[in-house]
Symmetry: C2
Subunit: 200 residues, 2 copies
DNA sequence: CCGAGGTGTTACAGATCGGTAACATTGGCG
DNA sequence: CGCCAATGTTACCGATCTGTAACACCTCGG
């Protein structure tokens, strides 16, 4: 319907399975979709899935790793679009998140996965934590490059606002507090950047 | 272990089941715990559960309704502790959330439930939405009472920060961005309250 | 043409899930 | 005591879940 993975029969079954899994995971939750539904949406079969992935958890890990890689690619796109301009990259990043709040093609996968995979020792947890740490480091660097004095503080403020907006979107809908996310986040950036040359 | 519901045999089986369900839902996720585990933790049995609740979904709804009622009680406690002082109630509310970020006895139930119950027509969705709307109205009223000019904006800022902090706690741990939540949120309150008598 | 590797099909195992029926047990109240 | 309602016990149903075994297919390089 929305993205007919079955019609992409020229792609490898492995890629179709991963894409179908990511789509269904976003739509029905990781625990709410079974491998049968995944291979059905991918126009493949269970045997092929288990020839590429040792278990469903292994497939989940691969899905999250791909989501992280796509995010890394987006960081590079931002750097290319605004080379050396951390402030512009930050604002473009926030604007993109605001624009994609309604759609489910965003990278909410990694955070909603953390809510759904409550087991502390699930193999995906390390993937999530590694991605989160890398993202934080990169945003801090952008803030510092933008001339913000307290880069860590702005970074954490933005991260809290972003994930709060994504979560609120799911519980309160588009007309809830997440509707004001773009303005709030951009105001925070400008507020910090404005007092850039005023340490303390 | 942590809270031995079984030893509270004087309480009604219904209450023990609901409490055990809420505890396990928080710990392993709504979809990650079965009715057998619930009645086992409650030292009851499946038949008694299904005599009180027509289905597992019905039990979920009751759990969320109780979480919402406890939140209403907390609003009343705040009003009693700081009668008529919206600013003090806001700051006490934020401080309490910050203190309870690590523990799982907070009311994250209603928001994490929204992530786990992806079906748009799940009976719990209306409970969640109703609670969220009421919470927003109440916080807006507190902001307005605190003399804040743009009460809705501060309310939504706080709501985004709070849910972002709770979500980040689960994916990045206690040392992540959520560690700075208390300072960020309190600064936001004071910033808005400071410019209270300066509309626009 | 032929053999081999990746793929698809069918069937099934073992476990767990939500939910129910029939019956035994308990505790409180007259 | 004896009754009654709530609760507990056991066994089970059908559906669904992850994961596997055996076998058929099909394409492509030598």
């Amino acid at each position: 319907m929305t993205t007919d993975i079955c019609s992409q029969s020229r792609r490898s079954p492995r890629d179709r399975i991963v894409d179908a899994a990511r789509y269904l995971f976003r739509k029905h939750g990781i625990r709410g979709v079974g491998v049968d539904a995944i291979v059905d949406a991918a126009c493949s079969n269970k045997m092929t899935l288990y020839r590429h992935f040792s278990s469903k958890d292994d497939l989940i890990v691969e899905c999250l790793r791909r989501a992280g890689m796509e995010m890394d690619n987006y960081w590079r796109e931002l750097e290319d679009a605004h080379p050396g301009d951390g402030l512009a990259q930050l604002r473009a990043w926030v604007r993109r998140i605001a624009d994609h709040l309604g759609a489910n093609d965003c990278n909410c996968e990694l955070m909603s996965a953390a809510v759904q995979l409550t087991d502390e020792d699930h193999p995906a947890r390390s993937v999530i934590k590694r991605f989160k740490d890398a993202q934080r480091d990169h945003v801090v660097e952008l803030c510092r490059n933008a001339g913000v004095a307290n880069a860590e503080l702005l970074c954490d403020t933005l991260l809290l606002l972003i994930e709060g907006a994504r979560l609120n979107q799911q519980s309160s809908g588009s007309e809830g507090p997440s509707a004001r996310f773009a303005g709030i986040a951009d105001a925070a950036i400008l507020s910090f950047a404005g007092s850039s040359s005023v340490p303390e």
